[in-house]
Symmetry: C2
Subunit: 281 residues, 2 copies
Amino acid sequence: MTVSFIGIGLIGGSAAIALRKRGFATRLIGVDSNPKHAEQALALGLVDEILPPDEAVKAADLVLLAVPVNVARELLPRILNLLKEDATVVDMGSTKNGICTVARSHSKRVQYVASHPMAGTEYSGPSAAIDGLFDGKKAIVCEHSLSADFALNRALSMYRSLNMDVLFYTDSEAHDRHVAYVSHISHVSSFMLGLTVLEVEKSEKHIFDLAGTGFESTVRLAKSSPVTWTPIFIQNAESVSHALEKYIENLQRFKACVDARSSDGIAALIAEANKIEKIIK
Amino acid sequence: MTVSFIGIGLIGGSAAIALRKRGFATRLIGVDSNPKHAEQALALGLVDEILPPDEAVKAADLVLLAVPVNVARELLPRILNLLKEDATVVDMGSTKNGICTVARSHSKRVQYVASHPMAGTEYSGPSAAIDGLFDGKKAIVCEHSLSADFALNRALSMYRSLNMDVLFYTDSEAHDRHVAYVSHISHVSSFMLGLTVLEVEKSEKHIFDLAGTGFESTVRLAKSSPVTWTPIFIQNAESVSHALEKYIENLQRFKACVDARSSDGIAALIAEANKIEKIIK
């Protein structure tokens, strides 16, 4: 099968590695607006050739859209216009409501599958692509009743080749609200933790000798790319803002207990937070 | 050498495993106020015997104090009173100013080494003890000029057996201020992230199907024990409160950019946070 990867960074590139390895993709075409990334993807053997976007779409049985979510929303109508009639386009962005809204009014909507593979690292670009990125993780598919069976089956078969479990989440707005909590504020939390520590470091020269494991795991995501994340926060602004409001309120509750030197208050909040064990093993 | 472990949980137990393996400790005595933990530590072979606290201290060449920081501060004077005159006590707590202040007025202060091994996991108790917990990590020693050479050398040799790099941080107050940023607010951030998501989950039943890797790494620390962490936040209340204030301010800045749909503002904050790459590889 000919698969065209629009965007061959962390997500597109890692998908290319797995789909080639499992025999799902036999001809791999790459498209990247950054010529250096295109060159790098070729050199790394992620794709077989680089084509201009229109040609890549016309040649494809499956188009994988793995670009920042603002770009994906812009490109989707044009991709649908150019797509062969038995071909499918699957987008892999972290927000779904914006792109689903755009897609809904398109005459070829049935050829599109709106999805969100829940996998990633804090790195970006073709050199960040790794084998096994998606293994055992979950992929969400939204508004699946608006996709034709052939398109949906192709997407499912592709995700099976990525070794992912597919979950259907019809409501793209609900999807975005959920990921605001489980993914997006995790990133904000980490970005601002990194920033806070860096601000202090200016005056406290030696602070980083002390960096321990807990800090490293919470601040890891702070290395994530603004190109990827800025449009996610913009597209999901309402839910992210709401989640942040709740998060800030809880931090203020915690701070009030610390300021009051209330052991009972702190212990109660921690015990409450510990219940996350039931969810994250 | 006879080593008595006051507290045989994650830290004490993991130290016991490494010190036995490397031949540093030849007789390992355990003390734990929780009889079940004491029993478990014996059954797991972490220590050779369980003794009452006073007997364990009197028998020891080295006492390792690995209990919650409020308990450590209470126990230290009594341990120093009972300690053989050529023996050493090393505490391994995350806050140093409180215990150092207590120690300073003790006639046998020279036999005490105030330290903080920067290592841990989110689990606690003897069953959480693991081989290699300390490997390649850093251990801080505070107020080392108040320790006798023989005590300091014993502590250094012990930390070498744990495969840790020792760093001297004379000023225990500065130590606590630093770890408020790099360790303590990481934990608060994670606890409150867990709590926020759990609050939402009550109404949004399916949220946890979506839990992805980013969420898991930022929320991992939220499983940490209130018994360990409450006294740390209390002892380091001033610095933790200050760090939280800065952190909340930065979250509010981020939220304001999201509310204003300012891509430039969000991208600038993320780019600033990305500089953490220089510190955390």
